[in-house]
């Protein structure tokens, strides 16, 4: 029936023509690499173009799941998520409230909040590496000046402390970017809702809790998905500040993926980490969508 009408047939073929480039790009740049990575994760390969690839089945996955380094990197990803939800989300939301409110200098606030993300990760990473240097960094010098020299430690070389430093720098950097997500939600709230709230005497914090936050739930969902997937694949800021070291103590799964592949030349194991991250990212996104934010859609 569909093809019996030449009009529909033409429309269908035309639409296919428009769809095909997108499909082809997705297949070449997303689906094929994923399939290839999955296949590679079942093999051993040293990353040299003409070297043989040998089948090892699930061995790479077993090695990854029994590796202390992997679980340490997952813990670091969890620290990133905790930082994301406990620090970044409230700060970004607060900043969004500020720049959408009717106060003066909002343009200045917007520009200054966005400045860190515009600097670029490497610049931010290097800048904070110098600031956190325990010899000549500004924090060390300040602490020594106020008589708290004993509190000066090598922040970026002390396990757990180093990853938290990176997490906090990451939140500092991306607060402005995430502010835009929440600001978009806040400005989309119709004016009459604000008027109705005002008539009901709902102002200030009450208005934020009972009006703005519920109406921005979709923005929180967007933030959550971006945060979870972003934390799993965090690489650049970690690499710029600590290179994942010392001895992999601040490595995230993405850093581990890179080092296993290009330093240790274990492309199979590196691919297995990639597939694990992909599956984990998908599962967590689906869970967030279908469990935590399900009620809202219903």
């Amino acid at each position: 029936m569909f093809f019996s009408s030449s009009k529909y047939r033409k429309t269908f073929l035309k639409s296919m023509l428009f769809v095909l480039p997108g499909v082809a790009i997705t297949v070449i740049f997303v689906i094929y690499p994923v399939i290839n990575t999955f296949w590679l994760s079942l093999n051993d390969w040293n990353g040299v173009a003409t070297s043989p690839v040998s089948w090892v089945g699930l061995n790479n996955y077993i090695k990854v799941f029994t590796s202390e380094k992997f679980w340490n990197s997952m813990l670091n990803a969890v620290y990133f998520m905790i930082g994301g939800f406990v620090v970044l989300m409230p700060v970004a939301f607060g900043m969004a409230l500020l720049v959408t409110s009717k106060i003066r200098f909002t343009k200045f606030f917007k520009a200054s909040y966005l400045m860190p993300v515009m600097l670029g990760t490497t610049a931010v990473g290097l800048m904070w590496t110098f600031m956190l240097n325990s010899d000549f960094g500004i924090f060390a010098q300040f602490l020594r000046a106020v008589g708290l020299g004993d509190a000066v430690i090598n922040w970026l070389a002390t396990p757990t402390v180093n990853i938290w430093c990176v997490v906090l720098v990451n939140e500092w950097m991306y607060a402005g970017y995430n502010m835009l997500i929440f600001a978009a939600g806040i400005v989309a709230i119709p004016g009459d809702v604000h008027d109705a709230a005002l008539l009901d005497g709902c102002t200030g914090l009450k208005k934020v809790i009972y009006v703005i936050i519920p109406l921005c739930k979709n923005m929180f969902m967007v933030f959550s998905v971006l945060c979870v997937t972003g934390c799993l694949k965090a690489f650049d800021i970690v690499w710029a500040m600590t290179n994942g070291g010392p001895i992999d103590s601040s490595a995230t799964p993405a850093v581990l993926l890179y080092t296993q592949g290009f330093q240790y030349k274990l492309m199979g194991r590196s691919s297995a980490i990639g597939i694990i991250l992909l599956v984990l990212g998908l599962v967590l996104s689906v869970l967030l969508n279908n469990v935590i934010f399900k009620q809202d859609r219903e």
Binding site: V48, S134, A157, G261
Partner: protein
């Protein structure tokens, strides 16, 4: 039904696109082999008398344009392109060691992205490329130009001989050489009543460190943020304690990384670390900061390769007043007094990309680069030991002191981890040694290395 047909057609389109992606010539080993054979069949080893027209070669290096050597390397490239206008040399220069190594790994993972010439330190990493038939065997070219082969000294042999990895032939063209030495600040030592001539053994050095520390002077300020620093110390102490043969013994696993001998070496480093001799901010400083601290009189000693002599010391008072001097790395066992860490520093390897013109142009570039006049000009601007026999004038007082020490050296080896057939060893050992700066004990250092080896088997 028609919907199903449409769905099938769309799926077919997707599969065809996927297969098109899979059918990339670079991932077809059979095609690669035939290409390579074609290139070999066409090979004319007389690269100097070949016609080159619009040939482009890429060289992947660690050259640093900000370093003293940077402009000298650029002169080599420009001089070559001027002499051979049919060849264009493009450079990928990444000065930071880890980034350079990672970048090379990425480029060498696909035949289409491979540079024509790579710089390497030899060892298992390069052996993997050699055994994958990606590196050009230089023997036929040396047969064509025997005088070229004869122009090299023996310092770079370890970078070109892969027979211990099962590869016959000569791979790569060695260029610069080095030896790890102990540099000291004459003023600091004399102010603290230490005679540098008295420092010949490790115990002498530790005694000097004790004296300095007691007087509030920092002996070393090592930059272990760059984990090769303890890596080099570990290699040098091995050669000074057990002789250079230890490299092969560890490489073949005849000696274990958690055995008595190695634990002894880790303990020596730990003892020095615990007494605070090695640095005050080991994991916070990198090797650049380490040198800067030494150059500005903040530490008495610097344990470093001879490339330090060739660096830009303009404006540095200590250097201008000739207050920095070189000593041979102190021995632990007197028997191995003249065994040292050193040898060929870097070699240039022509990559067999399967294109005969590119391979010939690459070999020609290496021949030009290691020709007497070019090396002489390079060494006069950057006084470092080289693997080519040249008599260069000039250099600075420190490089001359270093040259005198090198002249007496009996045996050298490079990074000890590189004698192992597993490529990961250099990272594995260096990372485990870095844990010393995080208070790990000798047993756990050895255990970490052995456990990691098992994980990667």
């Amino acid at each position: 039904m028609k919907k199903r047909i449409a769905a099938v057609l769309l799926s077919a389109a997707m599969v065809v696109t996927t297969l098109a992606g899979c059918g990339n010539s670079s991932s077809d080993p059979a095609k690669k082999d035939s290409g390579s054979k074609d290139a070999q069949a066409e090979t004319d080893y007389d690269v100097e008398n070949r016609e080159y027209k619009d040939v482009k070669i890429t060289i992947h290096t660690r050259w640093d344009t900000g370093d003293v050597s940077g402009p000298l390397y650029q002169n080599i490239v420009e001089g070559f392109m001027e002499k051979y206008p049919g060849i264009k040399v493009e450079q990928i220069n990444i000065p930071t060691e880890s980034e350079w190594l990672n970048s090379e790994s990425v480029l060498m993972s696909d035949k289409d992205s491979m540079p024509n010439i790579i710089v390497e330190y030899g060892g298992s990493r390069t052996a993997e490329y050699v055994n994958s038939n990606l590196i050009v065997n230089m023997d036929p070219y040396y047969e064509q130009y025997p005088e070229w082969k004869e122009s090299f000294n023996s310092m770079g042999d370890s970078l070109t001989d892969y027979s211990s990895y099962g590869a016959e032939g000569t791979y790569g063209v060695p260029f610069t050489a080095y030896q790890v030495m102990l540099f000291y600040n004459e003023d600091i030592l004399s102010q603290n009543g230490i005679d540098p001539a008295s420092i010949v053994s490790w115990d002498d050095l530790m005694a000097a460190c004790e004296k300095l520390k007691a007087n509030g002077v920092q002996p070393f300020e090592m930059g272990e943020k760059d984990d090769y620093r303890f890596g080099h110390l570990h290699s040098a102490l091995n050669y000074k304690t057990f002789g250079c043969d230890m490299a092969e013994k560890l490489g073949s696993r005849e000696v274990s990384y958690d055995g008595e001998e190695q634990t002894e070496i880790y303990q020596m480093i730990i003892d020095a670390y615990e007494k605070g001799y090695l640095g005050t901010n080991l994991l916070g400083n990198d090797d650049g900061q380490e040198r800067a601290l030494f150059n500005t009189g903040k530490s008495a000693f610097l344990f470093m390769g001879t490339w330090f002599c060739a660096e830009d010391h303009t404006g540095l008072e200590l250097f201008e007043n000739e207050k920095i001097h070189a000593l041979r790395m102190p021995y632990v066992n007197e028997e191995y007094k003249l065994n040292d860490m050193g040898g060929g520093n870097e070699a240039y390897y022509a990559v067999d990309t399967g294109d005969a013109d590119e391979v010939a142009a690459s070999v020609l570039f290496l021949k030009y680069m290691t020709s007497e006049s070019v090396v002489k000009e390079f060494v006069e601007g950057y006084p470092t030991p080289v693997c080519v026999n040249v008599t260069a004038e000039g250099g600075n007082y420190l490089s001359q002191e270093a040259a005198e020490i090198i002249a007496e050296t009996e045996d050298v080896r490079g990074d000890i981890e590189n004698y192992d057939s597993a490529t990961h060893m250099i990272n594995t050992v260096r990372q485990a040694l870095q844990s010393i700066a995080m208070d790990a004990d000798a047993k756990s250092v050895g255990k970490t290395i052995v456990d990691t080896i098992k994980q990667y088997e």
